[in-house]
Structure formats: structure tokens, C-alpha cells
């Protein structure tokens, strides 16, 4: 329990530090790009929105740093991240809530799937060394060594085109309105198949290799021999003794990968024009949409922290040696 609280405190502290850095960066940047934009759009933006941008980017030089900082935190607590210039007049929070589900669903689900698939294959490959599953290894390693950009483009070239079941780009059929209609969900699923497949193909090899090698290491441990000597079933020895221990290093890696779901997806979304956070980020950079860039940074940071916290919890649940009894 004390371990849990200490980890929690650590993550809360880190999140606070990230928010604070996010506060200082625009104030340290020389020049004043945001106030130029705000001035350029005066008359179109309502005063409340100007006020929120002022707080976020420190445009009001008369306020003390401390006053700026407290009103910045208070504004974040309300979820007000300013307005997006690139998507005028949508507020940043609105842009983010539209883009996030796409990224979380596509990349989140595929990250989990490729972790599960790769790890399970790794268990088998490490347990039955020299079997056909073990023989997959060179192929999967080759696939994961191809730069993702290439893999994506090759997939688009091979599997999409006129008359193909798989669309080449986008998250859904352009005419449809996002919602819970069957037609929309069907279209969204169809659009996600190819990007999902390429992500899994590209990342499954890494999990497989890591798990296989850990299995090889763990099966040489004394407690595995003991488990055999005890006459336990092979499945039990493989899963509860070998895989259970071999999994531990992969859990940290999985936390890292989950953290990158939100922030590390530019390539996928770029190649497939998929309407997620990554695509918004590229767009925001091209349009000098500072409020949106800042909002995305914030979300990415918090996502990385949350994922690592989850991985920590999982590790704690899986490895009794990390728990301090007390």
C-alpha cells in the first residue's frame, strides 16, 4: 500500500511539473506569435476567448508571474485550453475530444492486440524452441524492422484502389455523420482495418522476440525444473511458472508503448489520413495553431504518465517482490 501511495505521489508530482513547464514555455519563447494572431483576429473572437488565451500564453504583461500561474492552473482545471486558430471557432478542448477517440480506439486497441498476440506467440516460441512458431521469428523480426512509413505506403499500394474493400484513407466515409448508426460504425471499422493490420504487423515482432528470449531465460531457472519434477501438467508449468515470470519485463515495455499511443502515432495517421491526434498535431504545426499544439502536448504528457502509472500498478500486482509489506 505504501508503495502504491509513493508511486501515486510521484506521478502527481510529475504531472504538476509537466503542467508548470507547459506554463513557462510560451512565456520564454521570444517574440509574441500568439498576440499577433489574436490581434489579427480581433473582432471575430469574443472577449471571453481572448481572455482565456491571455491567461494561457501570458499576453497580459502587467500581471505578476504568480497571478498568471494561479489563473493558468484554475483555467486548466475548468478544461479551458483556449480556442484553436486552425479550426476556428472551435475551442481546443473540442478539437481534442473529437480526435482522441479515433486515436485511442485505433492505436490503443492495436497496441493491446499486438502485445497480447506477440507475447502469446513468444511464450510458445520460447517453450517449444525449434518448432514452427519459433520459425516465424526471422519473418516477424524482418517485418518489424521495415520503417513504418514504407510498410504503410506498401500496404496502401497493394490493398487499396478502385473497387477494393479497403479504403485508402480517412476514418469514415466522407458523407457520413459521426454517431452510433450502424452505417457509420461499419464504415469506421472498414477504414480502420488496414491501418490496424499494418500496426500489428509492424509491432508484433518486437513483443514476440522479447517474450521468447525471456522464456528461454526463465525455462533454465531452477523453479521450472522443480515444477516439472512435481509432475505438474505441461500447460501449468508453461503458463503459471515460465510465462508468468517471463512476462514481467514486458509489462514495463507495454506501459511505455501504451504511453506512446497518443503521442507516437503521427506516421500511422499521416499515411492513412486518419483523423486522430497525430493528424491534428501535424495540421496544427503547419498552421501555427499554438493553442492546439499546447493542448496536444498536455494530453500526450498526461497519457504517458497515466499509462506508466497503470504499468506500475500491473507490475505491482504481478511481482510480489516490488510490494513492500507493512
Amino acid at each position: 500500500m505504501s508503495y502504491f501511495l509513493r508511486r501515486l505521489a510521484f506521478y502527481v508530482f510529475t504531472a504538476w511539473a509537466a503542467l508548470t513547464i507547459n506554463f513557462f514555455i510560451p512565456r520564454l519563447i521570444p517574440g509574441d506569435p500568439v498576440s499577433a494572431l489574436v490581434n489579427g483576429m480581433r473582432g471575430q473572437i469574443d472577449p471571453a476567448q481572448i481572455q482565456s488565451l491571455t491567461v494561457l500564453f501570458g499576453l497580459d504583461k502587467k500581471q505578476s508571474m504568480w497571478e498568471q500561474y494561479t489563473s493558468y492552473l484554475a483555467q486548466l482545471a475548468r478544461g479551458d485550453l483556449g480556442i484553436s486558430f486552425g479550426n476556428f471557432p472551435l475551442p481546443v478542448s473540442e478539437v481534442l475530444t473529437q480526435a482522441l477517440p479515433w486515436t485511442l480506439l485505433l492505436i490503443g486497441v492495436t497496441t493491446v492486440l499486438s502485445f497480447l498476440l506477440g507475447t502469446l506467440l513468444g511464450v510458445f516460441a520460447g517453450w517449444w524452441r525449434g518448432s514452427w512458431i519459433d520459425g516465424l521469428l526471422p519473418a516477424t523480426t524482418f517485418l518489424s524492422s521495415i520503417p513504418y512509413f514504407w510498410l504503410g505506403l506498401i500496404a496502401v499500394a497493394l490493398f487499396t484502389g478502385v473497387g477494393s474493400f479497403l479504403p485508402a484513407s480517412g476514418g469514415y466515409e466522407p458523407g457520413l455523420v459521426p454517431g452510433w448508426s450502424g452505417e457509420f460504425i461499419d464504415s469506421a471499422l472498414r477504414h480502420s482495418l488496414l491501418p490496424a493490420a499494418t500496426i500489428i504487423v509492424a509491432s508484433v515482432g518486437g513483443w514476440l522476440l522479447a517474450m521468447r528470449n525471456m522464456m528461454v531465460t526463465v525455462t533454465a531457472e531452477d523453479y521450472i525444473t522443480v515444477a516439472h519434477a512435481k509432475g505438474l501438467s505441461e500447460r501449468r508449468v508453461m503458463m503459471n511458472y515460465a510465462a508468468r515470470n517471463a512476462l514481467l519485463p514486458s509489462v514495463s515495455g507495454f506501459g511505455m508503448a501504451l504511453g506512446l499511443v497518443v503521442g507516437g502515432t503521427f506516421l500511422v495517421e499521416y499515411v492513412f489520413s486518419y483523423p486522430g491526434i497525430g493528424l491534428q498535431m501535424l495540421d496544427a504545426i503547419a498552421k501555427h495553431d499554438y493553442p492546439l499544439i499546447q493542448g496536444i502536448f498536455l494530453v500526450v504528457t498526461l497519457a504517458v504518465l497515466a499509462a506508466n502509472f497503470l504499468a506500475d500498478l500491473a507490475y505491482m500486482a504481478l511481482d510480489p517482490r516490488t510490494r513492500k509489506e507493512g
Binding site: 531452477d222 523453479y223 516439472h228 519434477a229 512435481k230 509432475g231 501449468r236 515470470n245
Partner: protein, 336 residues
């Protein structure tokens, strides 16, 4: 001495590797474990003691393979079992229920992610599926008590136990199904001398209560002299001498046994000079011709480097059953 064998090893050979890469770590070993006795197996590091234990329980890690021989288990009042030709399912049933092992690396013999109770109980689950949960837990508690560990350690994880406690847990676990044979491969080597003796004394008590046989492997001959009934000495993969413990201690026939006896200070009995054995154990890849001990043997003479001496009862002795493989003590005849 009555001979009521519980386990018979006949001409067992174990190789590591296949074809001409293979090294033979155990050579043509024949050994009988009698009901209720403690048979000690001693020899320098690398003499093949663990390999023999792994071989007869079919736990050899690759690339180890049994290349010749038989292992026969005699269940009380049942048909003899040919251990080496058991089917996988039969082998699983045989393991732990008839023959359990406490391993050399007992420090790492417990799975670090499961509680002691889980690891005691899963062997009961595997072998006695009919047992109720309460009965299993009660049995686990009883096993811990048997080896002198308080019951509240049932919920402990291995890393929360001391080395000696882990060792006791392993011994308790080894007795979970009341096997007829317990193999102990240097079960106490990593512990201090006081703890070693305490655990061994406990083991001797338990053996009296539950009447199992022990194959006790160690390189510390003085321990065996104290705790075992018979001792077999291993060198270069072969058994070179075999005798009742007290006889071997008083009057060993093989120069190697003699050297071993003088390599350890005896805790009891008269002081002996520590001499040790000059030279180093043989290389399995290029074993000396004849008796593999002859390059290091102070008493080597002509036949030693030419012919391999066969293990048998020496002609110059009438005493209790003992065997030696040494040209100084030619065997009686080939009938043995």
C-alpha cells in the same frame, strides 16, 4: 544386510550432446537404493552426481540424454515400474508421488511470484484432484509445521523467507505426497554448518516417521558419514566404491575415497590430517585410459593405465557387502 530394493539403477549412462560432440557425464552406473535407507553419493564437483539424479528422474536439461541403462522402481507390493519408458502422463503421475527431489539450487527452487501456500498446494492439486480446498490448505499447513516453520508463513512469498527457511519449505514440499524416495542434491550446501546439521537432523527424524528412502548427494563426505547408511563414491561419471558408511569411514579401499575422506575435517571422531587430492578432476572430453583416476592416484601401478577396473566385491575381503573398482583390490569373480 537385507536387500529390499526400492530403486534399481542398472548400467545407466548419460551423455550431454549427440554424436561425436557428446560427452559422457555418467558411465555405466549401477546402484541400488534399499527401502528405508539413506544412500549417500559423494564425489568431487563435476563427477556427475547431479547428472545421475537428473537422469534417473528424467529431468535432464537439454542436451542431456540417457544413452543406456534402466531404472526400475519397486512400489510397495506392486509391479516394478520401468521409469525410463513411462509415458508422459505416467511420468507426471510418478513424479513427486513416488520420487521427489530437493535440488542443489534450492535457493531458487521456489517460484518468486507465488506464495508458499500456492506452491505447496499446486502439487496436491495435480496429484490428488479429489481433495477439498480446506483439506489441501490443512495439508500445506501440516507440511510447514513438519519442517519447523510456523504456519503464518504460508502466505509469505519466497523472497520473504531466509535461505534456510526456503530449504525447509522445499523439504516439506518434497514430502507432500509421502513419496517412497526422496533425492536430495546438495540440499544444504548454501547454508552455514549449524543450519545444515539442524536441517539434516530434522530430515533423519522425518525419515523415521514416514519411512522413505533418501539418495543424498553431496561432496562433503563427513556429512554422509554422519547421516547415511551406505555411501557410494563417484569419480569421472563412475561409481568407484560402495560400502556401509561406517566401514567406508574406517577403512576405505579406493585411493580416491581415501583422498576425499581426508579433504574434509570430520566434525566427530578422531582428528585426521587434511591432505586433499592432488591434481584436478578429469576432462570428460579426454578421459584417461584405464582407471580414470590413475593420473592422480598415489598408488597407481601397471594395469591402472591400461584396463578399466570393474566395480565388484573384492576377493581379499569377507566383510559386509561392499564393492570397489580398483586394481589394488581385484574382484572375486565375474559372478557378482
Amino acid at each position: 544386510m537385507k536387500t529390499d530394493p526400492v530403486l534399481e539403477i542398472k548400467g545407466l549412462s548419460v551423455d550431454y550432446g549427440l554424436g561425436n560432440q557428446a560427452v559422457r557425464a555418467v558411465r555405466d552406473v549401477s546402484l541400488t537404493l534399499n527401502r528405508g535407507e539413506v544412500l549417500g553419493l559423494a564425489g568431487e564437483s563435476g563427477s556427475g552426481k547431479s547428472t545421475l539424479a537428473y537422469g534417473l528422474t528424467r529431468l535432464l536439461p537439454p542436451p542431456g540424454v540417457v544413452s543406456a541403462g534402466k531404472v526400475i522402481y519397486y512400489p510397495p507390493g506392486g509391479e516394478p515400474v520401468d521409469v525410463l519408458s513411462l509415458t508422459p502422463a505416467g511420468l507426471r503421475e510418478f513424479r513427486w508421488a513416488e520420487t521427489s527431489i530437493v535440488f542443489q539450487g534450492a535457493m531458487n527452487s521456489l517460484n518468486p511470484v507465488y506464495k508458499v501456500s500456492t506452491q505447496l498446494i499446486d502439487v496436491l492439486e495435480a496429484h490428488q484432484p479429489g481433495m477439498s480446498r480446506q483439506a489441501r490448505t490443512a495439508r500445506a499447513r501440516e507440511l510447514l509445521k513438519m519442517v519447523g516453520i510456523s504456519e503464518d508463513r504460508l502466505d509469505a512469498y519466497p523472497h520473504q523467507l531466509s535461505g534456510g527457511m526456503r530449504q525447509r519449505v522445499m523439504i516439506g514440499m518434497a514430502l507432500a505426497l509421502e513419496p517412497k524416495i526422496v533425492i536430495m542434491d546438495e540440499p544444504t550446501t548454501a547454508l552455514d554448518v549449524v543450519m545444515q546439521r539442524q536441517i539434516l537432523r530434522q530430515l533423519v527424524d522425518l525419515r523415521k516417521r514416514f519411512d522413505f528412502s533418501v539418495l543424498f548427494i553431496t561432496h562433503d563426505l563427513s556429512l554422509l558419514v554422519e547421516f547415511s547408511d551406505r555411501i557410494a563414491i563417484m569419480y569421472g561419471g563412475r561409481i568407484v566404491e560402495q560400502a556401509p558408511a561406517s566401514v567406508l569411514y574406517r577403512d576405505s579401499l579406493h585411493p580416491y575415497s581415501d583422498g576425499l575422506l581426508h579433504s574434509f575435517p570430520a566434525l566427530r571422531g578422531p582428528r585426521r590430517d587434511l591432505v586433499g587430492i592432488p591434481g584436478s578432476p578429469p576432462d570428460l572430453r579426454s578421459m584417461p585410459s584405464g582407471c580414470s583416476f590413475h593420473p592422480r592416484c598415489p598408488k597407481a601401478f601397471d594395469p591402472c593405465s591400461v584396463d578399466v577396473p570393474v566395480l565388484g566385491t573384492p576377493a581379499d575381503l569377507q566383510g559386509p557387502a561392499r564393492k570397489v573398482a580398483c586394481w589394488l583390490h581385484p574382484i572375486r569373480n565375474s559372478a557378482d
